[in-house]
């Protein structure tokens, strides 16, 4: 399907590879089609119907995420019919969504409410849904059934990305919701707590547990655990790391993370962190000033070097520290002490 197909979208001509969807082609033209259930890295299910477009010669509106382009196709993404259909879809979704959106109430982002605003829906024709309490699925993930719009992205991420498949549609009729098996929380399943379901959830029905409110700053950095080097944003509020979020724009992990990367940050502010230098006095380690501690380090290393030679001193550098710090350690060993006795745990 690598032949080029030419089509018109909103009057603009574009040539794309066969097999491309209308949604993808429109994005190439910077035409934004709203969607709640599409994710570039998941198989499409055409579940939310929000991305419907009008195609000349077709009797019905078609979902842009699941409809492939065809030669000579003429597509309208913003006709009156399309916009009316989307408004209807949003109003139906809102009829099962609480008026006081639990996600927005927490300072989070709800794509459904955002679209409702975009489409100027202030009093939906079928009203709003009722509120539900949050369910704590495990230590890191909470779920609010009322905010769920059955887009199935969580279930698809769990199945297609993580390969675990612990989330699915459960219940019947209007009671149906995306959740772990009936009678269980995620804690009681094979869930690996990666939180990749939280990342794809468009309404915040699945969310990281933790205090409400927005981050003051997001700082892009590299994960400190394994050697994969995942990129993420440390969410900082009042000088503390309060969460980790991801964006799809990096070549290593995209938006996916594991439990350690996404939720393993509590140690940063742990009360057992070392906060002052310690010096041994007898069999006890006692707090000391930096001046005293650094003085002891320098004088003892100098003494041992003078008495036993530079090769009597060894440095265990750190595969956990930065390149710049490792460079300084080996420079300290080689240029300052005069020994090549520098190594780290690359052997273990």
């Amino acid at each position: 399907m690598s032949n080029t197909v030419t089509l018109l979208i909103n009057g603009e001509q574009i040539g794309v590879a066969g097999g491309t969807t209308i949604l993808q082609a429109a994005r190439l033209l910077d035409i934004d089609i709203p969607t709640l259930c599409h994710d570039d890295e998941l198989e499409d299910r055409a579940q939310c119907r929000l991305c419907v477009v009008e195609i000349d010669g077709r009797p019905r509106l078609e979902p842009a995420c699941a409809t492939q382009v065809a030669e000579g196709m003429t597509v309208s993404t913003d006709s009156e019919t399309t916009l009316a259909a989307r408004r209807m879809t949003l109003e139906l979704l809102l009829s099962e969504h609480p008026q006081s959106c639990p996600t927005r109430a927490r300072g989070g982002e709800c794509n459904l409410c955002d679209y409702a605003d975009d489409y100027g829906i202030r009093a939906p024709a079928f009203g709003y849904g009722s509120e539900t309490e949050d369910i704590r699925e495990n230590s890191f993930i909470s779920r609010n059934a009322a905010a769920c719009i059955l887009c199935s992205k969580c279930a698809r991420a769990c199945e297609q990305v993580q390969g675990v498949g612990e989330l699915g549609f459960m219940g019947r009729g209007i009671g149906v919701t995306a959740r772990p098996a009936v009678g269980k929380t995620l804690e009681q399943t094979e869930c690996e707590m990666c939180g990749n379901c939280v990342v794809v959830c468009p309404t915040g029905a699945l969310r990281a547990t933790g205090p409400p409110g927005r981050a003051d700053a997001k700082v892009r950095t590299t994960c400190g655990y394994c050697g994969v080097g995942c990129q993420f944003d440390l969410n900082v509020r009042a000088g503390r790391v309060v969460g980790v979020t991801t964006e799809p724009d990096n070549p290593v992990n995209g938006k996916w993370l594991c439990v350690k990367g996404r939720f393993g940050y509590e140690f940063i502010h742990h009360p057992e962190r070392l906060t002052a230098p310690l010096i041994r006095r007898g069999d006890r380690l006692e707090p000391a000033s930096w001046d005293e501690a650094l003085g002891a380090v320098a004088s003892r290393l100098a003494e041992i070097k003078a008495a036993n030679g530079p090769d009597a001193i060894g440095f265990m550098s750190s595969s956990r520290c930065t390149n710049e710090e490792n460079y300084l350690v080996q420079k300290l060993a080689r240029a300052v002490i005069g020994t090549n006795n520098v190594d780290q745990c690359a052997r273990t």
């Binding site: 050697g227 962190r273 003892r300 090769d311 080996q330 300052v336 020994t339």
Partner: protein, 527 residues
């Protein structure tokens, strides 16, 4: 890795041996799952039924320590069935003859018997791998943490040379590095025999270059590896150690001996973020910073140099490690006046040809992969495209050798140690994350249910595992994941330190200990 992480889904045959990526490198695990979803064939060689075996076409549950028998057995099939890549061997390699001589001694039946798997599965694995368009090997410590670790790695390199599965997109030999910056620590010279950029200290020209840059006379004698340092400390030759961000008492094999070595030092400095088991033995402890509290770079397993950015302040009087090191250097009378990590990077990149083209400006958004020799260079996604570092790829005739301490009548169980999804290495960080600690609170011993029944214990019962070096108690976890006669323990838990048990027998080249095989006794702890 010779390939990039992003190339994994493009491979059509993946051979994972001695690696458990869904737990130790979960995002690489995701990429491997994606490759299989795309239709790739997965072959897993691992004594345990790790998660990836669920989606593998062939699982070879080999007896621990027999990797090279399997690898040479596969090579035997590839050569005897005419599946080798003649063109690649002719144009890119040398030394086939001697290697083929060794491999000829390893028909799959012989390998199968030693490995305790079926010869047909060895044949199947060899055929799948050899016939791949883009075949990729992934390994980690299950290959290297053996007395024959170097030979195991060479054996895998031989397989790639034999089939031409190297030097191409999605096709190569991929060690998955363990720690966030173990790749970078090596790259910038935290190794006893090389300056930054893998320039040997024994080569005069290299020394002259660094002597000029650092304005001091430098030693031409390669230093001691960590293993040798601990031995020298035991013997009294090493008098002081400065340990940064590592916990050897928890992570080195035969921890009892490591404690003894450290106690014999005249002076021990530990620079860390928690009072680790090693820090408890120190004369001076310097409070340092974690990754969220400093600027700098880490280099990941695909050789990508990426920015680390300061998000919060270190607690109390704790300081960034680079600032502490500058202070120590200055107090020892050497001038160091860097005002930022960027200045340090610029100095090290200038001295390291493989990193010379990388600067903070270029990696502001996306990291670059070395080799990157100049600032116009786009970085290198996969290695060895046109030639190998030494020119031709060299086959090395490597012969199987058994583990140093096989089970016997007195210690009849085979103990292997490793890592789990929820905890990270010595556990100093993850055990202080309450949600993770709740999910995985304590140490366990994986044991086959049939074996557990044999010793008359129920799942969850406390077991005492004893080796010639020490004894540790942990609860039994009955699982068919492990082979009969084998037990498996993580080393994350300070109250049940698995490395009190592990064996201090080392690979002669890398000086890596045989963490993956030692003999043990298992007893039920009476309540």
């Amino acid at each position: 890795m010779t390939n990039s992480i992003g190339e994994i889904p493009g491979a059509d045959v993946l051979f994972v041996i001695g690696a458990n990526p869904t737990e130790a490198h979960p995002i690489i695990g995701i990429k491997i799952k994606q490759a299989v979803r795309n239709g790739a064939t997965l072959i897993v060689a691992d004594p345990r039924k790790i998660w990836l075996t669920k989606i593998a076409k062939i699982h070879l549950p080999i007896r621990p320590g027999t990797d090279l028998a399997l690898i040479n057995g596969m090579a035997n099939v590839i050569l005897s069935e005419g599946l080798a890549n003649e063109e690649f061997i002719k144009s890119r390699t040398e030394g086939l003859e001697e290697y083929a001589g060794v491999v000829a001694q390893w028909p799959p039946e012989r390998a199968a018997e030693l490995c305790d798997v079926s010869a047909e599965d060895i044949r199947g694995a060899a055929r799948e791998y050899a016939r791949a368009n883009r075949g990729a090997i992934f390994y980690t410590l299950g290959i290297t943490e053996h007395t024959c670790g170097t030979d195991n790695v060479l054996g895998l390199a031989n397989l790639a040379l034999l089939t031409g599965h190297v030097g191409k997109e999605s096709s190569g030999v991929n060690p998955l590095r363990g720690q966030n910056n173990v790749q970078g620590a090596c790259d910038v010279g935290a190794l006893p025999d090389v300056f930054p950029g893998y320039q040997k200290v024994a080569v005069e020209e290299n020394r002259r270059k660094f002597e000029e840059a650092w304005k001091v006379k430098l030693s031409d004698a390669p230093g001691m590896t960590l293993t040798d340092m601990f031995e020298a400390a035991l013997e009294g030759h090493l008098r002081a150690m400065y340990v940064i961000g590592e916990d050897p008492v928890m992570s080195e094999a035969h921890a009892g001996l490591i404690r003894e070595a450290l106690s014999r030092l005249g002076f021990l400095v530990v620079q860390d973020i928690f009072l680790s088991e090693t820090a408890k033995l120190a004369d001076v402890v310097l409070p340092a910073s974690c990754f969220a509290e400093k600027d700098g770079t880490f280099t990941n397993t695909e050789r990508r140099v990426q920015r680390v950015r300061k998000a919060v302040e270190p607690p109390g009087e704790a300081r960034e490690d680079w600032r502490i090191l500058i202070e120590v250097i200055n107090r020892l009378g050497y001038p160091a006046d860097y005002s930022s990590p960027e200045q340090i990077w610029d100095e090290l990149a200038r001295l390291s040809p493989i990193l010379a083209g990388i600067n903070y400006g270029r990696i502001e958004q996306v990291g670059l992969q070395w080799p990157c020799p100049n600032t116009d260079h786009p970085g290198t996604r996969f290695l060895h495209a046109e030639r190998f570092s030494r020119g031709l790829g060299k086959f090395t005739a490597v012969e199987y050798s058994p583990p140093a301490e096989p089970p016997d009548a007195e210690y009849p169980w085979l103990l292997t140690t490793g890592r789990t999804l929820y905890h990270y290495n010595a556990g100093t960080m993850t055990r202080r994350v309450s949600g993770i600690a709740a999910k995985s609170p304590d140490c366990f011993v994986e044991i086959n249910p049939a074996d557990l029944e044999k010793i008359g214990a129920a799942d969850g019962r406390m077991l005492r595992v004893t080796t010639r070096r020490g004894s540790v108690e942990a609860r039994a976890l009955a699982t068919r994941k492990v082979r009969r006669g084998g037990i498996w323990m993580p080393f994350h838990f300070a109250e049940a330190p698995a490395n009190d048990l592990t064996l201090d027998a080392y690979d002669s080249v890398t000086r890596t200990a045989e963490y993956k095989v030692c003999a043990a006794r298992v007893e039920v702890v009476e309540p």
